[in-house]
């Protein structure tokens, strides 16, 4: 589903990604692990075309993302859900409206919005908090809302950039478990973290980034967990 071929990314003179190669199959859950500054966010931004790779090819379902024209980018993004470390919830909107906000922009009918938002909130276990505002929720709950918003359109791909960066370890594991359940429903999930200790608890594929280089891919290496 996703294929990186000799991908490099420069920010001016700074090399953020250096000749990255890997493939991810549909329905996989993959951790991208590495210290701060390793290039995790950059790799994800290339996927949703917030940034453009300087060299190489990024294929999503055989479409080269890097050569997509600007007016096609919205179509790319409608097929993915994006989750952020800082949640990016609108503080003056209810949980329901936060999730509905993008759908309204897409022209989905109110009836359909009701149905889909309720479904997504139910999946993350926050259906009864639909009327609450973000500041009335705990960090973990807010990130659940972020996940609900990402999956509300049923995208084939979910990208989570350090979704647990602001959360304690226990809550982090809950969030990762939730993302795992999303992937079990057939969605490809790519999730980054600098916390390799938590990743150990999950028996998922891990891509290790260091200094812009892909230094380990548990799918290919004999070591099932590089941090074990």
């Amino acid at each position: 589903m996703i294929k990186f071929k000799n991908v490099s990314k420069f920010y001016g003179p700074i090399k953020a990604l250096d000749n990255i190669n890997f493939e991810i199959e549909a329905g996989e859950m993959v951790f991208i692990v590495g210290p701060s500054g390793a290039g995790k966010s950059t790799l994800m931004k290339l996927l949703y075309r917030e940034e453009r790779n300087t060299h190489g090819q990024i294929l999503i379902n055989n479409i080269d993302v890097s050569s997509l024209s600007e007016d096609k980018i919205p179509y790319l993004r409608r097929r993915m859900g994006i989750i952020f470390q800082d949640f990016k919830l609108l503080p003056n909107k209810s949980i329901f409206d936060n999730i509905a906000y993008g759908l309204r922009g897409l022209g989905v009918s109110e009836f359909e919005i009701q149905k889909r938002v309720a479904g997504a909130l139910n999946l993350v276990g926050l259906l009864e908090r639909a009327d609450a505002f973000p500041n009335e929720l705990s960090g973990g709950e807010q990130q659940r809302v972020g996940i609900a918003r990402a999956i509300v359109q049923g995208p084939p791909l979910v990208i989570a950039d350090e979704p647990t960066g602001n959360l304690d370890p226990k809550t982090s594991i809950e969030i990762f478990n939730l993302l795992k359940s999303v992937s079990l429903r057939g969605t490809t999930v790519i999730v980054s973290t600098h916390n390799h200790k938590i990743v150990k608890e999950f028996k998922e594929r891990v891509l290790v980034l260091e200094d812009g280089k892909l230094v380990n891919d548990t799918l290919l290496s004999s070591v099932s967990n590089p941090y074990a």
Binding site: Y48, E50, E70, D71, I73, P74, Y75, L76, R77, R78, R79, I82, K88, L90, Y101, G102, L103, R104, G105, L106, G107, S109, Q153
Partner: protein, 291 residues
């Protein structure tokens, strides 16, 4: 169905955005109204003056004031024989004086200062000057008076006032555009999180920009509607009473049709307001909202 929903939602977002701007709406609308009213005023002034001398240019009539004791009838006879002249009316000084006295309320016994006067009508407007040239050397003629001559100065005044008015309008317009751009920019910045979310969900570009552009257009719409009010008032009180008094003073064949083209001026103001505001906000979104 989907596009109707989207347009409706853009209007709702526009409303939110206007509400959010609070007091700065009043500031923008005030200065924009002043600018548009001035612009419309300049156009209105220009069109009024133009009408005055279009009328003057179309004059078929001029007056000849004769010397005391001139052969009034003979001169009238001679003039009426000129090919281009349609008719000559003799206004004996007694009658002219009585009319004048009645109009301005002088007392009966003041002595008559007026000479005999001839009102000459030519067949076509372009005959006026040649006929005057021909007549002016006749003996017995004190002075020839015709409308365009009276208003030569008006042309210069018009072009000076018109250029000056446009210049002021331009300066005001530049500050107005700056203020509108700043207002819209402020809203764009304050809604950066909303914009980011919409972008990453894959919402169409025009849906994201739409509310900001319509917000700008709203300013143009409201301001031009307010700006037309002083122009209508000016039209109805100043201009119309000016016309009325003009007709009594000038013994001329004047015809002011609609007075001026107020309707057209309003359309110009309206479109200018909307286009300028819409374009300014569009440029702000272009600059501050990236795909």
């Amino acid at each position: 169905m989907r596009s109707i929903r989207i347009i409706w939602r853009i209007l709702k977002e526009t409303y939110q955005s206007i509400k959010f701007s609070g007091m700065s709406n009043f500031m923008v609308i005030s200065i924009l109204t002043v600018t548009l009213a001035l612009f419309g005023g300049v156009l209105q002034f220009n069109s009024s003056i133009k009408q005055i001398y279009q009328n003057l240019d179309n004059q078929l009539e001029f007056s000849i004031y004769l010397i005391e004791g001139a052969e009034t009838k003979a001169i009238a006879q001679k003039i009426s024989q000129i090919e281009a002249v349609k008719k000559v009316d003799i206004i004996p000084k007694d009658i002219a004086w009585r009319t004048f006295r009645d109009k301005f309320g002088f007392s009966e016994d003041s002595s008559n200062p007026l000479p005999d006067t001839l009102h000459v009508n030519v067949k076509r407007a372009q005959d006026l000057k040649p006929v005057i040239e021909q007549i002016k050397n006749y003996s017995g003629i004190e002075q020839i008076s015709y409308a365009p001559q009276l208003f030569q100065g008006l042309r210069r005044v018009r072009s000076i006032l018109f250029s000056f008015g446009l210049f002021i309008t331009l300066i005001l317009a530049i500050s107005t555009i700056t203020i509108i751009s700043n207002t819209i920019q402020l809203i764009v910045k304050s809604r950066s999180l909303e914009i980011k979310i919409l972008r990453l969900v894959g919402v169409d570009d025009w849906y994201i920009r739409g509310p900001f552009i319509t917000h700008g257009i709203f300013y143009g719409l409201v301001s031009s509607l307010i700006a037309i009010i002083p122009l209508v008032i000016f039209q109805n009180f100043v201009w119309n009473s000016f016309q009325a008094s003009f007709k009594t003073i000038m013994p001329l064949t004047f015809s002011f049709d609609s007075g001026n083209e107020l309707g057209l001026i309003f359309v110009i103001m309206f479109l200018t307001g909307i286009i300028v505001c819409g374009t300014s906000s569009y440029m702000v979104t272009n600059r501050y909202i990236k795909v």
